[in-house]
Symmetry: C2
Subunit: 708 residues, 2 copies
């Protein structure tokens, strides 16, 4: 499949139109065809609004037209709120009028089965013929808040228009989009754009991401994905986002088996294993949230705050117990609750002798009588403790308006002095106090643990943005060598890997006992013999393996025994002699491999062998190709990583060589992405530092068909 | 330390008084001494309120008295809102008046250091002398909501009185208590009692728990602990709670190192490792929450709902994407998102062909046009799917009052038909809709993930309550044999364990080469020799170990070698000959042991050997003594548990024998609790099923002093 590049311009035409036609416009503002007319009017859309309704002259006070062909001005955008059966003709008419984009609310397409799929193909063909770009069908439309373009039939708008802000929101699900929209409004989140992409027959989430990357009204992108059909387009869109320096907060269900099964039944869109999404997001400044609450909390915070430059977390509290809880919460994340320097602790002690000064800093309830103390303590913490983030637990103090009013001015001054730090307040507030603190540049939470969790998410995003580099996917220096329809067993697989720069065990094929003895002499003793047969997968079960052969006589005897065992095991099996390989010992056993994800392409897997992979499923994935930094990060993600660095008194393993081998494997996988199905190297023996490593056994499978 | 039994009657005298005297009563309702007078009046306390103030005849409209000695009736309770220096005399006066309980708001006692500790001891001595029971000092008092006893100076009451309900709340921290009180009010939680215990010089959290266990107004107990000084009292209190059948939701900070360090600096109260609290709570129907939000959510839900009888979770949603997220959330817990039976799925399909029917069940947005459908679908799920809990995601539908009104009657009918199931709604609601649904018996959440998390917590509590049995701690059939001031090395340690019923490796001491050879012959070959010396801890480093000795000659030679090596290693070391032990092979290596927690007593530890314990710190604890069920549960908590049941093609290990050995070890630990410091058995070799196990090496340490 060749991917089209994401098309931000098409989304711009859709979300920044000169004029809008509503085909199927209803005079009744609560009907689906009436809502967009009503919403556009309410939101003060700047351009002309053309209701299209052959039965009325006026719709909701606006001049109506019988056809989009009759509008005084050519509208960039048409909204189609008509039955599915009428959609194709309407799109053709739009095309003839020069309309550049159409939003199709109508359901009854691919989501309803085979007949719908066909209807959707016809819809797309018509749109392509006329050069009309489509959003939907079966979508809830979109919004451009600053222009008053509320092109949706979502009933959630009836409870109020959204607050304008800096978060661009993309979702494939109309239901989810409506829910988040209502939630955003309830929480005071400011939105720049909201797009629901529905069936994505044409424009999809990737186009929207590319558009938001370039959109001057958007600082932060919130992305809800149910699935993704075209991984390369998604990567290209995220490349654009990465280049823009905007953080993304993503929500993608299906991490569990049940969730994945439900996703399968929910949408035809799903493709790609969940681990591939994790790997994809890891390559970009994308923070993956795991609940709606976290999604909203983190997006809200990211839009209102600078991102932390480091992971030092200062905690200040009016309740010692809550300080302990916040420290506990921080320990679940990569946050450093670093102690205050001794001198600074003395400074705090001098300010209030009953304070606990280490970090968490506990002021006791003293700010009730000395409201300036809260900001003064934080000033010392920021100046001397160098905290990137401060969470300030004020319990229910800001519920008292008089006290909130006294706490505020010193906090305002502090905020001005330290504009680049992330300053959070965790407290119960009156709505007024919360609005005031937020207006002053504080992030406000009710729950202190939620504040710490969000601090961790912002820190993660900050680190990703700071260290994010363009993903070089094209310039892989590795020949494509894997042919379709092959199962490369041992020798050939090892040869392919060796060619790609992955060190492999010294090995030769041998077709006779003499050959084997000669090969062993060349390789050096001890050696191992393994039956070579495309038909015998489990060589040990077949008696097809002989270990620790110390001399030529032993090799000759083993050859005859192994061949006889294999014939006895399966008389029909094709036998290609044996593989003679060096018998390695020592080192750390790894299992590494490649899975070619149908959506996102090859993913390299790495895990420690033995109980780590078999009992603990301690494996990690990275999308190919990647460089040494990603390879090292992969290894560091393993729970068993200490085994590679010399835990339990062992010599540190050759992690440099291992990282290099993973890089080579990733390049091999990327170069052969069209034909490769999987690679399984088990074991990969990693020797002590400086002594390299070797793939001891490998299986390479190719796809049945490179175009599959 | 001999523990007093918890005293529920003393807390009852305090929280259910006939009359209340406020010593230091102020005419100004916002001052600390004025607040309780004001609050008691506002809340309509039924009995007389006696302000004690020598300078006024009337305080806040009530007759004031110069001294508590002058009150017309003897008050059961006195509230002391006076400086620390005046407290002792006032308590003595209370005693002379026959006051049975005093709440001491005053700070300046043990929390401020040595002088305060002394003052607190004097206070307690005076109270004991006069038979007055104390709450505090340095506490925020307590409340008995149904009687209008608001005996606190917490300013949070100024924003409103709490709603009466069924949750009894105990906290050591006044600041935290105030915060939770305000939060409870904001969330509509109903409280029966609230007690803050402060410095706990007399009455403590254990007394309060025992009282709440017996209190007819309390169904659910919420417990916030900072620490616990007397583990036996706490166990006795939890015994009473367990017998009452009431669930406890606990919040205890300090699980992380930083949190524990902060706890150390926050309170002198801290004793006991965090793992001991986990182990303690596990023995009782206590759910440990890890954030304030979770604490409040779970307590609220437990007070308003039956607890689930099983772990089957039904999910119904108007948004497929949210169904997937809820299933993902369920997968993090022990919840069974079991599929609907096929026939029931067809029934749902016939009701709405576009529905997804497996579980999560997705109605699409159809309930907007067919509001009865939501309840009808759930009826089929409850009848045919046998779900213990249903989470019903309605997105923002209940924000529309007209739709909420239509959804409600069918949901009311459903609730009546299935009174014992836990029915949850996750939705954005107007406050009215939320109150209506809650009045109808639904648990209402905004966030669907929070609903699933709470479902898991309730399921856990339900399981604990159903399976909770009294903890038999006294009838341990094991002699106390460990003497204080000992380090029992290998042979003696193994002998102690063998006496206690823990199988040990066959071993003999030998003081000469001939002895050793004879011992080996008796034990059977192969054997291992290990130097026996109280001064050599690391036997291998000293060359003090000889393995795989196959005959008497080898044993004799090894004896001389081992002794010579040991002398060479440390010329001053006392050498007691060698230990001759059977050389065992095969089996699964475990590391087990005992730590004697200063607060909660001996805790048995178990972990798999090798990487599991050294790299993954995969160990688990259980307070001694315990029975086979707890022993098996311990093993099942280990991540490496599959290694014991035959993972990776190995034979299943003798888990029966292992569980029995843990039980015996726990009984040994309990019987020797007064003198034992620790036991370390490493390795404990567990043979294949039916073949038992053996402790191969062991160290037993006793306390320097049994009274320490």
């Amino acid at each position: 499949m060749t991917s089209r590049a994401p098309d931000p311009q098409a989304v711009q035409n859709l979300l920044e139109p000169n004029a809008v036609a509503i085909i199927g416009a209803s005079a009744e503002p609560t009907r689906i065809g009436g809502r967009p007319v009503d919403y556009l009017k309410q939101a003060g859309f700047a351009g002309p609004i053309y209701p299209i309704n052959p039965n009325r002259d006026v719709v909701q006070g606006l001049t109506a037209y019988a056809s989009v062909l009759d509008t005084p001005e050519r509208p960039d955008l048409a909204i189609l709120a008509i039955p599915a059966a009428a959609v194709v003709d309407a799109v053709a008419e739009c095309g003839r009028r020069g309309v550049r984009a159409a939003i199709i609310f109508s359901a009854g397409f691919a989501e309803v089965g085979a007949a719908g799929v066909e209807a959707q193909q016809q819809l797309l063909a018509t749109a392509r013929e006329y050069g009309v770009r489509l959003l939907g069908p079966n979508c809830l439309g979109g919004m451009n808040i600053s222009r008053g373009l509320i092109a949706t039939f979502s009933s959630s708008v009836q409870s109020g228009l959204p607050q304008a802000g800096r978060i661009g929101f993309v979702t494939q699900s109309g239901a989810f989009g409506s829910h988040c929209f209502a939630l955003a409004r309830a929480r005071g989140l400011g939105l720049s754009r909201l797009v629901t992409t529905g069936n994505e027959c044409d424009l999809d989430a990737a186009d929207c991401l590319a558009y938001l990357a370039a959109d001057a009204d958007t600082d932060v992108i919130a992305l809800h994905l149910e699935g993704c059909r075209d991984g390369e387009r998604m990567k290209a869109a995220l490349d654009a986002v990465q280049a823009s320096g905007k953080p993304v907060i993503a929500l993608k269900g299906g991490e569990s088996d049940i969730g994945a099964a439900a996703a399968m039944s929910h949408t035809a869109n799903l493709a790609g294993a969940d681990a591939a999404y994790d790997a994809l997001f890891r390559r970009y400044p994308v923070y993956r949230a795991h609940s709606i609450r976290e999604f909203i909390d983190v997006a809200h915070a990211a839009a209102r705050s600078a991102l932390p430059r480091g992971n030092r977390l200062g905690l200040i509290t009016v309740s010692g117990g809550v300080g302990i809880m916040m420290a506990d919460a921080a320990s679940h994340h990569d946050l450093d609750v670093a102690p205050m320097p001794e001198a600074a602790q003395r400074e705090l002690h001098d300010m209030w002798p009953n304070a606990t000064t280490r970090n968490p800093v506990d002021t006791t309830a003293q700010p009730v009588s000395d409201p300036e103390m809260n900001a003064n303590f934080q000033r010392v913490m920021l100046r001397e403790g160098n905290y990137d983030v401060i969470v300030n637990f004020l319990s229910m103090l800001p519920l008292a308006p008089a006290l909130a009013a006294k706490l505020r001015p010193p906090l305002q001054a502090l905020r001005r002095e330290y504009p680049d730090n992330v300053l959070m307040i965790a407290a119960m507030c009156t709505p007024e106090a919360q609005a005031d603190f937020e207006a002053d540049g504080y992030l406000v939470f009710e729950d202190p643990t939620a504040a710490v969790d969000t601090a961790a998410a912002l820190t993660d995003l900050g680190r990703r943005l700071a260290h994010s580099t363009p993903w070089q996917r094209t310039a892989v220096d590795c020949p494509a060598r894997v042919a379709a329809g092959q199962r490369y067993a041992e020798f050939d697989a090892l040869a392919l890997l060796a060619d790609a720069g992955v060190p492999v065990v010294p090995a030769r094929r041998a077709a006779s006992a003499d050959d084997a003895a000669a090969a062993a002499a060349e390789i050096g003793f001890p050696v191992v013999l393994k039956i070579a047969s495309p038909d015998i997968l489990h060589k040990s079960d077949a008696g097809g393996v002989a270990l620790s052969l110390q001399d030529e006589a032993a090799v000759r005897a083993a050859y005859d025994r192994v061949m006889a065992n294999a014939r006895g095991y399966d008389a029909q099996a094709r036998l290609d002699g044996v593989l003679v390989a060096a018998m390695l010992s020592g080192g750390v056993e790894m299992a590494v491999g490649v899975q070619n994800d149908p959506t996102f392409g090859p993913m390299v897997m790495a895990g420690l062998g033995g109980v780590f992979i078999e009992i603990l499923e301690d494996v990690t994935f990275e999308l190919a190709p990647f460089g040494p930094a990603e390879a090292r990060a992969m290894l560091q993600r393993l729970r068993g990583y200490p085994l590679l660095t010399g835990a339990r008194g062992a010599a540190p393993a050759d992690v440099d060589a291992l990282a290099d081998a993973l890089v080579r494997l990733s390049e091999f996988a990327a170069a052969n992405a069209a034909t490769l199905a999987s690679v399984d190297i088990n074991p990969l023996l990693v020797m002590p530092a400086g002594q390299g490593l070797a793939a001891v056994d490998a299986v390479v499978l190719s796809k049945d068909d490179a175009n599959a």
